[in-house]
């Protein structure tokens, strides 16, 4: 039996050791997260150098926008204090250099175009600007080279212990800086080359062009007449292409006549601005390229006219999903009252497009699924020919209407019990029908739908459990169907009494208390005070249990007992609880050999009385009593 238990226990211990590892098999194979409070990290110098290299490499390929964007991102990096100054300085230098190179590149592009169109005066101005940018870029490039050296030292690139990846990243960065320097040199050379072209074309024949526009005040969409003369000195230039530009946009092309004059109508675009700047431009083409310089007329200012549109609206401050709301408004503009198209959108989501005129009232229903919070309501009046468009924006709050619940719950519940819960769901708009009401009480839950008056009634069967008396909570969750109504979650409490369990436990406790008290009153069970034990040097014989000895067996045992006290006292041998009858006999026989025979006989009789299946006779009991008398007499004599 013991062996089997040991095996079973061993299996249990092994299982306890092995099975905790089993759920680990369900875990993801990668670390899902680590504690951010205890996480540590340091500046990734290799990655920083690699990314500086990428930025500078992008710039050296003239992708300045991408390089500047990456540099801007880099400014959001958390930099350790020890490196903050040098990295910020490095970022600043990179940004200055990239911006300067970008500007230089764009300026040189402009200069190329101007020189190609023989627009010599403007080209000269661009080339002068480019010269300044080149000088600036050279200075910043030198600073960046010095800053790179400082950065290398701070990052320990030249240290003997520097990792290969760091050395490699540093080498790539320096290579990219070198490439950038080559780009700068190339741009400087381009600027020189353009300057030489400028000097060359400076010897070309100059041209001039005039422009008159009539009338100089016109409605948008109307046509005006443009005319002028293209000449080279006093010589008219005929058959040349003249471009009319309005606010930098080409709107018409005319061909000059024999006398160098050109004329034609241009239509004013529907741009609702107060003025437009018009110029006539001549750009030499074909064989003119090697003969004439380009030219541009002086600007002519056109006063444009249109009907400004004013929009006045009043909107509610708060709206609710799925609930129509009213926008009152008025569109006014000079001229006749024209029907206008108006678009309404919430944030960027269009929710209405209609045509209105003058004063208007719009009933708009926001989508059911619109997110709550502050939203931008935009009303856009679309431009219509001479009538300009306009936009009005209002910040409005999308909200949900809170629900209220009147709930009737019992104040006191005696378990087990079926309780009836009833209530009514309402809002400021009235009763809420068809809402799902979920009620959870301990482990029981039920869901009920509200009636048309918002009322609901349901039963909860609460079973017996281990509870005694106490407060318990109901959780009531209301999910309305109306998109404008908010979700409601409330809690209520009732006092719950479990009479069966409480009474049974109380009775059990009473019985326990009764038993304990009775046990304490029994004199035989009183413990010997600790002080008595400590103060006495004599051995204290344990008291015999208070057993009533009845019958013949009882007589024999009583006879043994009655002699026992005297034997113990005289022999100084005590019948302790762990001493058998025979052990006691053996000890006494050594001290009092005179009674050993009688005591042996009496001991045998007691053993038979205690353990034998055969019932002793009264004669045997008489013999036992006689032997006890004999022993006592012998002991008295001896004493």
């Amino acid at each position: 039996m013991n062996k089997r238990l040991t095996i079973a226990f061993s299996i249990f211990i092994v299982a306890v050791i092995i099975f905790p590892g089993v759920p680990a098999l369900a875990q993801p194979d990668k670390t899902p997260h680590e504690n951010p409070d205890t996480a540590t990290g340091s500046l990734d110098k290799i990655s920083l150098l690699i990314n500086y290299d990428r930025i500078i490499f992008a710039a050296s390929n003239r992708d300045y926008a991408a390089a500047l964007e990456a540099l801007e991102e880099l400014r959001k990096m958390d930099i350790p204090d020890e490196y903050r100054n040098i990295i910020n300085r490095y970022n600043d230098l990179c940004q200055q250099l990239l911006t300067t190179l970008d500007t230089l590149d764009a300026t040189l592009d402009d200069a190329v175009n101007l020189i190609e169109s023989n627009n010599i005066n403007k080209a000269k101005s661009k080339l002068d600007d480019a010269e300044i940018y080149v000088q600036d870029a050279i200075m910043i490039m030198d600073d960046l080279s010095l800053a790179t050296e400082s950065l290398r030292k701070r990052f320990g690139v030249e240290a003997l212990t520097a990792p290969d990846e760091l050395i490699q990243a540093d080498k790539q960065l320096r290579d990219s800086i070198e490439q950038l320097r080559q780009l700068l040199n190339m741009l400087a050379n381009l600027r020189e080359s353009l300057n030489e072209s400028y000097i060359k074309i400076k010897g070309l024949t100059s041209t001039n062009i005039t422009l008159q526009i009539s009338p100089t005040t016109a409605w948008v969409g109307d046509t005006v007449n443009a005319q002028g003369v293209l000449k080279s000195g006093d010589e008219p230039l005929s058959g040349r292409q003249v471009t009319i530009r309005l606010d930098e946009k080409a709107v018409a092309i005319f061909i000059s006549q024999e006398d160098g004059s050109y004329s034609g109508n241009i239509t004013l675009p529907y741009e609702y601005v107060e003025t437009m700047k018009a110029v006539a431009v001549y750009e030499p083409q074909g064989s003119d390229d090697d003969t004439y310089l380009g030219c541009q007329s002086t600007e002519v200012t056109l006063q444009t006219r249109y009907y400004p549109t004013r929009l006045q609206v009043s909107t509610p401050d708060v709206i609710y999903p799925g609930t129509p709301f009213i926008i009152n408004g008025e569109i006014t503009s000079e001229g006749k009252d024209t029907p206008r198209t108006i678009k309404v959108s919430l944030d960027n989501r269009q929710i209405m497009e209609t045509t209105v005129s003058g004063q208007f009232i719009l009933e708009i229903t926001p989508p059911d699924d619109i997110a709550t919070g502050q939203r931008t309501l935009t009303l856009t009046v679309i431009p219509l020919e001479r009538f300009a468009g306009t936009i009005k924006q209002r910040i409005i709050t999308v909200s949900l209407i809170p629900l209220e619940i009147d709930l009737e719950t019992p104040g006191l519940i005696l378990l087990p019990k079926s309780i009836q819960l009833s209530g009514r769901i309402r809002s400021e708009r009235g009763p809420i029908a068809n809402a799902n009401v979920n009620i959870v009480f301990s482990t029981i839950s039920t869901t009920v739908t509200t009636a048309s008056d918002g009322s609901f009634t349901t039963m909860l069967d609460i079973p017996l459990d281990f509870s005694f008396i106490g407060q318990r909570e109901y959780s009531i969750n209301v999910e309305p169907l109306e998109p404008w109504a908010s979700y409601l979650a409330v809690k209520r409490q009732s006092i719950v009494i479990n009479p069966v369990f409480s009474t049974l436990t109380f009775v059990s406790l009473l019985v326990l208390v009764f038993l304990i008290l009775r046990r304490r009153r029994t004199p035989e069970e009183k413990a010997i005070p600790r002080e008595e034990v400590a103060g006495s040097t004599a051995f204290i014989t344990p008291r015999a249990p208070a057993i009533k000895l009845t019958g013949i067996r009882g007589r024999i045992i009583s006879a043994y007992r009655s002699g026992l006290a005297m034997i113990e006292r005289i022999a100084g041998v005590h019948m302790t609880p762990d001493t058998t009858l025979r052990e006691f006999l053996a000890k006494v026989a050594k001290v009092l050999p005179g009674i050993s025979r009688q005591l042996a006989e009496l001991t045998a009789m007691v053993e038979r009385a205690l353990y034998s299946n055969q019932n002793p006779t009264s004669k045997t009991a008489g013999i036992a009593e006689q032997i006890t008398d004999d022993i006592q007499k012998e002991l008295r004599r001896g004493a």
């Binding site: 238990l5 990668k30 997260h33 996480a39 990734d44 920083l48 991102e73 709550t372 482990t443 079973p463």
Partner: protein, 295 residues
């Protein structure tokens, strides 16, 4: 005392100790709403009106306007997938937050092209403390990203099969997918900006994909504007649910569940009455024995 008696007492003592420990020891499982320590999600329940779901059967019957946050670290059954699809189709919003779990199973079932990469997103420069806490700094205008300037993720992944410009949030251009998990970008490792949050409509509802469920653990709450992001989720929904039935159960959680079920079972009227009767029999046993002895 015999060996048998010793073992019985020892076994009873161990079982009692294990039961008491399991009952009272705080749960430390990832994403559990009962867990108040760094990796739990108790703050979510404490700060917002959120209901935890132990089963997808408990999804609201009227899903419109509601939001379910799901961290699928366990595979979903076909029944659960169908319930989830029904929830979304009828207007619910699913926030599927996954990194290395079973999110792609759900996306496949819903018929969406987008997928979770399942590889580790690292950002050696734009980060919080280390490359595995990438700081997200690129946001598209969206109700979920109102007033957001930066989010910090924790051992995240990224989304694939979508155009970067369609994503709500993107990692920095210095980030990369650390395929071999050595913390350094290799030539064949895709580099940022990588999409980490995306929204797609499905039926009448929508699915918001977040490439890191750790946004919802207690310790990430107060870093940068993570709390603001969760606030935006809460602000754009009528009621918020968080699924707990697809998280790997730990020994402790299983033990607690077992004990809870046992307690529920014992709370049934019949068992309660039986136990009470048994308790009374044991209590009164000495009285009956005494009476028999006296006879």
């Amino acid at each position: 005392m015999g060996l048998k008696k010793f073992m019985v007492i020892l076994a009873a003592g161990i079982i009692l100790l294990v039961v008491l420990t399991a009952w009272f020891l705080p749960l430390d499982d990832d994403f559990r709403v009962e867990n108040p320590s760094w990796n739990g999600s108790k703050a979510l329940i404490a700060s917002y009106t959120t209901q935890s779901l132990e089963s997808l059967n408990d999804l609201p019957s009227a899903p419109r306007g509601t939001t379910l946050i799901l961290v699928p670290y366990l595979e979903l059954t076909s029944g659960e997938l169908e319930r989830l699809k029904d929830y979304i189709t009828r207007g619910g919003r699913l926030i599927l937050a996954d990194d290395y779990g079973h999110g792609n199973q759900i996306l496949e079932y819903l018929g969406l092209e987008v997928r979770f990469s399942g590889e580790v997103l690292a950002d050696p420069l734009i980060n919080y403390k280390s490359e595995y806490f990438p700081r997200i700094i690129h946001f598209r205008s969206d109700p979920l990203t109102i007033n957001m300037e930066s989010l910090v993720l924790n051992h995240a992944t990224c989304l694939v099969n979508i155009e970067a410009e369609n994503a709500i949030a993107l990692s920095s251009s210095f980030s990369f997918l650390d395929l071999n998990e050595n913390g350094t970008q290799e030539d064949d490792e895709p580099s940022g900006p990588l999409p980490v949050i995306h929204r797609e409509t499905s039926g009448e509802g929508e699915v918001v994909l977040i490439a890191d469920p750790s946004l919802f653990i207690n310790s990430m709450n107060e870093i940068d504007e993570n709390e603001g992001f969760i606030q935006n989720i809460a602000d754009t929904t009528a009621s918020l649910y968080i699924d707990q039935s697809h998280l790997p159960p730990s020994d402790l959680h299983q033990a607690k569940s077992l004990l809870s079920r046992g307690r529920e079972y014992l709370s049934s009227p019949l068992i309660t009455a039986g136990l009470v009767a048994l308790a009374i029999v044991f209590t009164l046993k000495p009285v009956w024995h005494k009476r028999r002895d006296n006879k």
